[in-house]
Subunit: 117 residues, 2 copies
């Protein structure tokens, strides 16, 4: 179990933290990619396969988004020495930590839809 950390943050730091979170959760594709990977944990998820299954994404965007997810330690990239080469992507343990956050967004969003209808 993790040690609970007492945090103090200024208003500006909080806004920066929110920006950081939204940079990952707020874009058009990152969450879709991560949700796909998370629902296909036991499979080999190659670049092509992800592109087929994440509806509408271009190679350019998929490449860019996967690179950013990797830099943020949310996703691993593994080059398989097949012929031709394939590359495998998977969520990291740490990456799974985004899903509880998205749950709160889902809950608020569903409730909000009820509220304003």
């Amino acid at each position: 179990m993790e040690t609970p950390i007492k945090r103090e943050a200024t208003c500006e730091q909080e806004l920066a933290a929110i920006r950081d979170s939204l940079e990952i959760l707020g874009g058009k594709w990152k969450l879709r990619i991560m949700r796909y990977l998370n629902n296909h944990i036991d499979e080999k998820n190659t670049f092509k396969k992800i592109q087929r299954e994440v509806e509408g994404i271009s190679a350019k965007m998929l490449s860019k988004e996967l690179r950013e997810l990797e830099i943020n330690l949310l996703v691993t990239r593994t080059v398989m020495e097949t012929r031709p080469v394939t590359v495998n992507y998977a969520m990291t343990e740490y990456g799974l930590s985004v899903f509880p956050v998205t749950e709160t967004l889902v809950d608020w969003g569903l409730n909000h839809r009820e509220k304003i209808k």
Copy 2:
């Protein structure tokens, strides 16, 4: 106390709910405006005053964002019959429900910054 509601949602509905949440939390200004209003509950928060205090926002954007917040029932707009007319904005009770959600974004963001540094 509210009745807990058991929700079932498809993947697409969940993504739509997240989009709804992010439309409000994810933009550049809405959260700053709401945080400002929430920290100045006992004051008259006129258009001009908000524009002065929310750093860098233009009248165009402030007008647009406030209108969207009002439509989403997060903020009230009250025209005061002073001369000249002033308009007063305030968080609604319901609007306060965004702050627990932002807290989870702050927590994840702060933790993430530690993680990747």
